[in-house]
Symmetry: C2
């Protein structure tokens, strides 16, 4: 099966993108609200990439580009929300998505790419060239939104 990886567009939301992300954590968005978020993310420079098979979205990865003052105004790529649809696990799709995000970060001129992952996933990212660098700290804020308790 041929799998393409490309930047997401608005129509992908209804063709498996939100369903794919729901393997990661609760999504809970109407199509309309998802489109609004898609546009808001574009405005802030957040990039969404998708893996496509037979016209369906079966995987995704996000890349945020941060411009720093330090390192001569250097750019940092933050990889977020790597997800593969349950029907396509263990086919190397997540690796290809992360490689694609790294290539995009390189093309944008990033001097590093960073991400946070559970300890059990560190070997996966090490095989893609990452190294353990620091500790990911998290503070949950009290909001009205009910999370599923999943990571993300």
């Amino acid at each position: 099966m041929k799998i393409d990886i490309r930047e997401a567009n608005g129509t992908d939301l209804d063709h498996g993108l939100l369903e794919t992300l729901s393997s990661l954590a609760h999504v809970g968005l109407t199509s309309e609200k998802a489109r609004e978020i898609f546009r808001a993310r574009l405005r802030t420079g957040a990039r969404t990439y998708v893996a496509v098979a037979d016209g369906r979205i079966i995987g995704t990865v996000s890349l945020l580009i941060e411009q720093k003052f330090i390192h001569g105004g250097g750019l940092v790529g933050h990889i977020e929300d790597v997800a593969v649809h349950g029907s396509h696990q263990n086919q190397g799709i997540a690796s290809n998505l992360v490689r694609h995000a790294i290539a995009e970060a390189r093309q944008q001129g990033c001097y590093k790419v960073v991400l946070g992952c559970y300890d059990s996933l560190a070997p996966f990212y090490e095989r893609l060239g990452f190294r353990r660098h620091d500790v990911g700290m998290r503070l949950d804020l009290n909001t009205c939104y009910n999370t599923t308790g999943a990571a993300g």
Copy 2:
């Protein structure tokens, strides 16, 4: 000494902000280039906060707001580049800067705030309410820019 914490403006760049950041890593920016970066960061929604004493910038913290599709389009605050000028270390300024960034993230409606730090700094962030959550992974990309080798 009275210390104010507020959002940065363009004139702060020449009043100690870049000098403060150089305690973290090499900066290497002209004033003109720094202003350009300041505007670019505003466009992508990156917020810079500063601690001010006697009209000089003596501390800074950055907050990136990421809008996700998961968690109902939830917002995540990423804290970056906490720095205090060498002349004002160990006066609680870093704590106050991080608390300020957390309050801003809360006000924006973020459901969590995350950051990466060296293991030795984890207790500092734990005192501010953070918990160790995951592993920060890093991939250095080959660019022409010469870093100082410092973290960041």
